[in-house]
């Protein structure tokens, strides 16, 4: 009696089987590709924190420069440029800090370096020392009068 009623249900069973296979396949693949730690701290992979830390250093940082160039740092700290880090003018030098002999830094061209900050510009804060370089030095290099590490005359 009940067999007659279920006589035509074979296609439903096959469909159910197919769905069950698809769902379990999805679960297996999902378990394989998503790391167990996903969601530990939030909706992300915690390993991404370590990935973001892997990038190499390009700027060595002031403390690293001071290790060897103590005299220059002392001279600079006595003047108005005390707050300017070495790499602000000399460029990124982590490679030099890691191997001082293999990577020799090149001295920056002095006048463009100075005017970069000190060229007169209405948008700069009023307190900041600035000059119209053409009238101020008439083409002379800034360091013929000013010492970059201690800029006061």
């Amino acid at each position: 009696m009940w067999k007659d009623r279920l006589r035509d249900s074979g296609h439903l069973v096959r469909l159910l089987l197919l769905v069950a296979v698809a769902v379990s396949l999805f679960l297996v693949v999902r378990a394989a590709v998503i790391p167990d730690s996903f969601g530990q701290y939030g909706h992300y992979r915690p390993g991404a924190l370590a990935d973001n830390q892997k990038h190499p250093l390009i700027h060595a940082g002031q403390a690293e420069c001071t290790l060897c160039h103590e005299d220059e740092v002392k001279a600079r700290n006595a003047g108005k440029h005390s707050g300017v880090a070495c790499e602000a003018c000399h460029g990124p030098l982590a490679a030099h800090a890691a191997d001082p002999d293999a990577h020799k830094p090149v001295l920056p061209a002095v006048t463009p370096l100075c005017t970069n900050c000190h060229e007169k510009d209405a948008a700069k804060p009023k307190w900041f020392p600035q000059v119209a370089s053409k009238q101020h030095s008439e083409g002379m290099d800034c360091n013929s009068c000013h010492q970059p590490h201690q800029p006061k005359l």
Binding site: N52, A85, A88, C117
Partner: protein, 249 residues
Amino acid sequence: MPDSRREFLTDATKFLLTTGAAAAALDVMNGVASADTARYDAFEHWWGMTIDVDKCVGCGNCVRACAKENDVPEGHFRTWVERYEVKADRLHPEVESPKGGIDGFPPSTAVDIRTFYVPKLCNHCSDSPCVQVCPVGATFDGPDGVVLVDQSYCIGCRYCVQACPYGCRYIDPRKHTVDKCNLCYHRISKGLTTACCEACPTGARKLADLKNPDDPVHAFLRENAVQVLKPHMATGAKVYYRDLDGSVR
């Protein structure tokens, strides 16, 4: 129940040692900590930045330093500098940022108008719109408040690029995934400051750890009139501007 003090202490020591070792092993297995990054505890920090607009001279040092430190592709910026000119006969201020200010700015000869520089970068929002829209969990708020990108998860769908109200995100043309300022995560996790702060000659921008009670950021916030960009969007931005003009968007 241990029947003597000695047994209790021995058991307690064993328990502490084994659970501690297990926790450390679990962290390493999960890729949370490895031998050289284990010293950095992300839960001990809450990073942001302070920017003193009255100290920015528009030299572009920050833009250059960032591009070199982070290998930023040409024409894209993780930080940039804008020059504002607020003119009497205009409804909106004029804003220019030639090549993001990477080569500095031609000197402005403007007279009798308000004109100033504003450095910009990712605001590392604590309620980031970009994090909310990411469909794959590739953009996230780290435990230390830095908004980071998981490059291995990003599918380059650009939802976050549209969602960021500050325009801080770009698709890296080499990788076809999104990239942005990660607050020099490789530097701050080693106790260094960011490349832009390192290169800033006037100290206009300073990295701030809001969880560190000794950080000067607390005095900065207490003693100055400080504003974030687009406060009405309630993004929880953590880049704090001092002396910010009302016209800045």
